[in-house]
Amino acid sequence: MEYIDPRVNRMELPANDDGKEIIESLEEWETYEVFHQKKRGEQHIHVGIVHAANPEIALLMAKEAFGRRRQTANLWVVKTSAVTATDYEDQDIFETTPEKTYREASDYYCMDRIRKYQEEHGIEDRKEERRKKKEVRVK
């Protein structure tokens, strides 16, 4: 039979004996998680997986699967089985309480105290001086 696909004409097509398992289990090997770094200095970011028989093949495959269309400086591959992750069930361990403001920069303001002290002790406020200079410059 003549096929439309010239490649197919060059193949010896197998019979369609339905039901046979073509690929045995584990034949597609293990999976490796792929981490991609766009530029030097940036973080590596998880971008997906590749199937590979060993780390060397995994890198070879990851290079084209995840590097061919984006700028890449570096790739990591890690066997999926080597990754330990938290459980989504336990996502609540990351919840925080609103009281923990003591670790936010925005929680620290002591200008009031400084101004009060300056007024009481006749120290000139540098900010006030700067504001005036700026006004002169604008004019």
Partner: protein, 256 residues
Amino acid sequence: MSINTGEMKDIKEFLYKIADDQLIIGHRNSEWTGLGPVLEEDIAFSSIAQDKIGQSLHIYEILHSMGEEVPDIIAFARKAKDFRCSHLTEYPIGEYDFSLMRNFFFNHAEHLRFEMLASSSLEPLANLAKKYKGEIKYHIMHSDTWVKQLGRANEESHTRMQSALDKTFNLALGIFEESDFADALREVKVFDGESVLQDKWFEEISSILDKAGLVIPERSKWVPSYGGRKGQHTEYLEPMLEEMGEVFRLDPKAEW
């Protein structure tokens, strides 16, 4: 440096043979698209095929700037006898072992040829070598990894890789068929010649094949498959070109 017309013709012939090799092997490798042994490898092999064809296009552009036809005409409308590719590149894809082994032999020759060209007196050639250094490095990584791993993985893969090697070796030697213009190119410091390249190539592939547990035929049995560089090709090239230009030649007035 100034180049006289005789040298110009030699340089063109030289460029044709490099580009034709890349185009034909790239085209052959592209036939695996969608049919590779694992999806990831399918993607990787397609990239390699694209790179090779892309590189050939660049060289045809250089040729065009030297007064030859436009790249599309050069590639899609030339007769088989005008092609200067080696026999190795012309063979059908066969089994994956054949395609891998062919690519392995070819990549090493290509990488060393480009390395030699990097110091060529001809600027566009030297630039070419620099531009594609990274692409070719990956091609080498790819074929070395597969050859080393499959050469030693199990009995079937070892037997397959060894017999693919036996089938392709003389074809691969055909890459280094010396041309009449070799001396002229050496004189103007464009290229040092095929036998220098072949020696370097042999050294490189020997060490990899050794690691792969694969055996190279004894020198006494070497019968290089020559002729490609002179336009004498295998039976496979013509139908391949016929297919490649099928749509392009449908309508000579058409822009595709």
